[in-house]
């Protein structure tokens, strides 16, 4: 369950492969081998999870959504996305602020 005071960070061993040409971002989770496609909204939430508190991330999400689309980034949208990312091991919760994590699939043979 989302808690505004907890901090959220991308899983440390994540592989991130943006594919904006296809309108998505591919995520590989090596610790529990699975590949996911994230739409733009889920991808943005993921990128904002850099160790800040849930409250700060939610505010950042709302701000970006407002500036880039003119729409309202409702809290329920943010929370459902964050919880889905957490359920799939893409984002983890931490009680203390952590440095950003994550990497990209950038060379052949990285992921098999």
């Amino acid at each position: 369950m989302f808690c505004p005071s907890d901090c959220y960070v991308r899983a440390p061993d994540l592989r991130i492969r943006p594919v904006p040409e296809m309108g998505c971002c591919l995520i590989y989770t090596p610790s529990n081998p699975n590949l996911y496609t994230l739409n733009a909204t889920a991808w943005l939430i993921l990128e904002l999870c850099d160790g800040r508190s849930g409250e700060e991330i939610a505010a950042g999400f709302a701000s970006i959504v407002r500036e880039s689309t003119g729409q309202v980034g409702e809290s329920s949208i943010f929370v459902s996305g964050l919880e889905d990312l957490m359920a799939k091991g893409i984002v983890t919760r931490t009680q203390t602020r952590m440095p950003p994590a994550g990497g990209e699939i950038c060379s052949q043979g990285d992921v098999r």
Binding site: I16, P18, C25, L35, N39, I90, S107
Partner: protein, 214 residues
Amino acid sequence: MTDRNEARLLAATRLLSRRGLSRPDVDDVITEIRSDGIIKFKDDPAPTQPIPYAPLGIMIILWKYTLPWRDANDLRQWLGKKVVDGAGNTVANTVEEWLFSVDQAIGVKYGGTFVSVGTPQAEISTYWWFRGVQALTKLSTALQASQSAQGAPQQMGGGVPNPKDDVLEVFRQFRHWVEMDPNRHETRLELLSKFGDLSTEWDVAPMIAVGLRL
């Protein structure tokens, strides 16, 4: 925040700006990892409607498998079975006729099963057309989910697909024959004109291809 993270955040923001806000979607996909290419589309490869000049679709999944002629004959007979509904009414004269008539909302279309002529064994090719990556992803995910839910597969040549069933049951039954060949393979073909410039950066990253997992 590192430059790489900032670049990704910017890319995500730009994509959101183009697509607009929608419900966050995190889809689990069946994957086949290759190291000999990249995804390099110039257009959105997931049209929801057939595009006029490519009414069948922009992507083909091709199953290639070799069977002894006796087994190929079983497959032939299965394809020739009558399709009836729950009340016993004839829906199609043959399974293959029914397959050709199915154009699921998810955007998949049966393209036929073909066999070699004059070879020691039956070299068979089955074609599935897709409107785009999205259609293939949906079908792959649905297949995975339905197989998990169903447990053990049905016996080869079991029931004839009921029209109330979706195309998943047909896939499951079909694969019993395909899986008889340990050297079977699946090829994913995509409309060449849908790609971007193939002359550069063709080897910069592994290709992550969604398939039907033969």
